[in-house]
């Protein structure tokens, strides 16, 4: 299965092409240009370099959010346009899950963070676990069971045949689903788990100073080879979703912002304040 993956959710822009277990090409940039200036030129470069016939692409994977609203929409509109023109479906890959997937095999707690402004981060908590019996026979298809909303995502290589010891697969377990939360609340969650934790993501430079004094567990920061969004990781999760039949029509896809717009929030807050006053028996003053 040939998967074309895009990620424009954060500061990094990335495109990748995978076929089954092979990463054919990947292009990542973290540069001051906007994603609308980088994403499609990078894809064009990739296409030329590996002589990609776009009509052979089976699925388009896209980092579906959370992330920068504008970045998410550049990725989404690009994926939707490609989907419309090529007649293929999309895999809407949760951004934070894909980030965690960068640290395949890590049995510590994995904590991706993206700067969400207003003192918050988009984050989640994950870990990898070895699973499957050592003496099990036959292929254990990665993520064969749809465990509902991607709570358990299996990632595995091909199974060994002659060794007598079955290759196991590692499953990514979601300890806390991706969400927007304050740095303080995140520290509370990490401390509650009480396990060694690896942090990554473009939220690390932005929020580590605030987070560091709050942590009560040993922690480390991932290095540059794997500490930002990688479109290849989006492709891996897109492949799993495709196998599980969890694809969406390009026309129906919208990003997962995890937040309402400021105008909606203020409108709801105003409505809530008014309801409180009414409950307290105070009629709000309105101009005649």
């Amino acid at each position: 299965m040939k998967i074309l993956a895009l990620d424009a959710s954060g500061l990094v822009a990335g495109v990748a092409l995978t076929e089954d277990d092979t990463l054919i090409a990947e292009y990542t940039t973290d540069y001051k240009k906007t994603h609308s200036q980088t994403l499609l030129p990078m894809l064009d470069e990739l296409k030329k370099m590996v002589e990609l016939d776009l009509r052979t692409v089976d699925v388009i994977g896209v980092a579906a959010g959370p992330g920068s609203f504008t970045g998410l929409r550049i990725g989404a509109a690009t994926a939707k346009g490609l989907g419309l023109a090529l007649g293929v479906k999309l895999a809407a890959v949760p951004t934070v899950d894909a980030l965690a997937c960068n640290l395949y095999g890590c049995e510590k707690v994995i904590c991706p963070m993206m700067d969400a402004r207003r003192g918050q981060v988009y984050t989640g908590l994950y870990t990898f676990e070895m699973c499957g019996g050592v003496l099990k026979t036959g292929d254990r298809a990665a993520g064969a069971e749809d465990s509902g909303a991607g709570v358990r995502n299996g990632i595995s290589g091909t199974s060994g045949k002659d060794t007598g010891i079955e290759e196991s697969s590692m499953e990514m377990r979601v300890l806390m689903r991706q969400c927007a939360m304050s740095v303080q609340s995140l520290a509370d969650e990490v401390n509650r788990l009480g396990r060694e934790t690896v942090f990554l993501g473009d939220g690390v430079p932005a929020c580590m100073e605030m987070l560091r004094p709050l942590l009560r567990v040993p922690f480390a920061l991932a290095p540059s080879s794997c500490n930002r969004q990688r479109a290849a990781a989006v492709a891996v999760l897109a492949g799993l979703m495709a196998k599980q039949g969890r694809l969406v029509e390009a026309d129906d896809f919208s990003p997962e912002y995890l937040r309402v717009s400021q105008a909606e929030r203020e409108r709801m807050e105003a409505g809530e304040a008014q309801r409180k006053l009414m409950r307290a028996g105070i009629t709000p003053h309105t101009k005649e």
């Binding site: 929409r73 989404a76 690009t78 346009g81 105008a263």
Partner: protein, 343 residues
Amino acid sequence: MDSVKEEVLILAVETSCDETAAAVVRNGREVLSNVIYSQIDLHTLYGGVVPEIASRKHIEKINPVIRKALSDADVSLPDITAVAVTYGPGLVGALLVGVSAAKAIAFAADKPLVGVHHIEGHICANYIENKELEPPFLCLVVSGGHSHLVMVKDYGVYEILGRTRDDAAGEAFDKVARAIGLGYPGGPKIDRVSREGNPDAIHFPRAKVDDNVYDFSFSGLKSAVLNYLNGCQMKGLEINQADVAASFQKSVVDVLVEHSMRAVEQYGAKRFAIAGGVASNSHLREALQEACGKREIPFYRPSPVFCTDNAAMIGAAAYYEYRKGIRHGWDLNAVPGLKLGER
């Protein structure tokens, strides 16, 4: 421009504000489809366009709108010659949805990409229903975001004679409509209510701009209306909504007509056209019709569906750009403050 008449089919996309639109246009003047999804009900809740909400809605609607434009025109992507898209001016987040989708479609379908200036689109809307109209002509572009008096010297060649120094004409309509309790969008509401009002009931100022006789200023007029309303309130006088609307509207129309006709005379324009959302205003259309009639020059105005933001006009503008050899790269970005005539 080569004279060989190959058939050019343009798929055009427009998402600069709160309309998600796509169209298919043949040879710049024949509209095969024109699909507009208006978000106006959504923004009415907030009394104006909320950029983030508009951008989110564009993402939801962009593919169905493009798909419908293709099916209404009974064409498929391989039949298309080029893909065109508005890349400015407008709301950056809104523009980016159309720009990103159009680029991806052009890229995947292996078609050339033509970026179009939104105002140029409005001007070119006049070509759609007036097959005989060709440059040079003078055009008044008035909408919620723009007020320009433009000499169209040739296809894609513009000289801006005047522009607003503050509020756009449509913006003044929206603000005054809100102040007199008509709500959003102000243009059509004031137009309707004014029919029952006396346009000479209140004299509001006609602002002049010192160093350029063709420039506009509408913020003073808006303040004058607000002062009048406050004055009435303090004196306990009843406000006649229809009279205020009609008098305000007359003041705007007078200024637009006066500046336009001064330019017609000064520049010896042989044709005059209007464009943009406010060009739907019935009083403005009547007044300009009369003024052009007096000077015996033809007056062109698009039907209301081509005055509002739409993609057919982008397809019309893109055709002339395409014929000139204008192509944009995959790095085309949204330019919220794009100037007319800039590339």
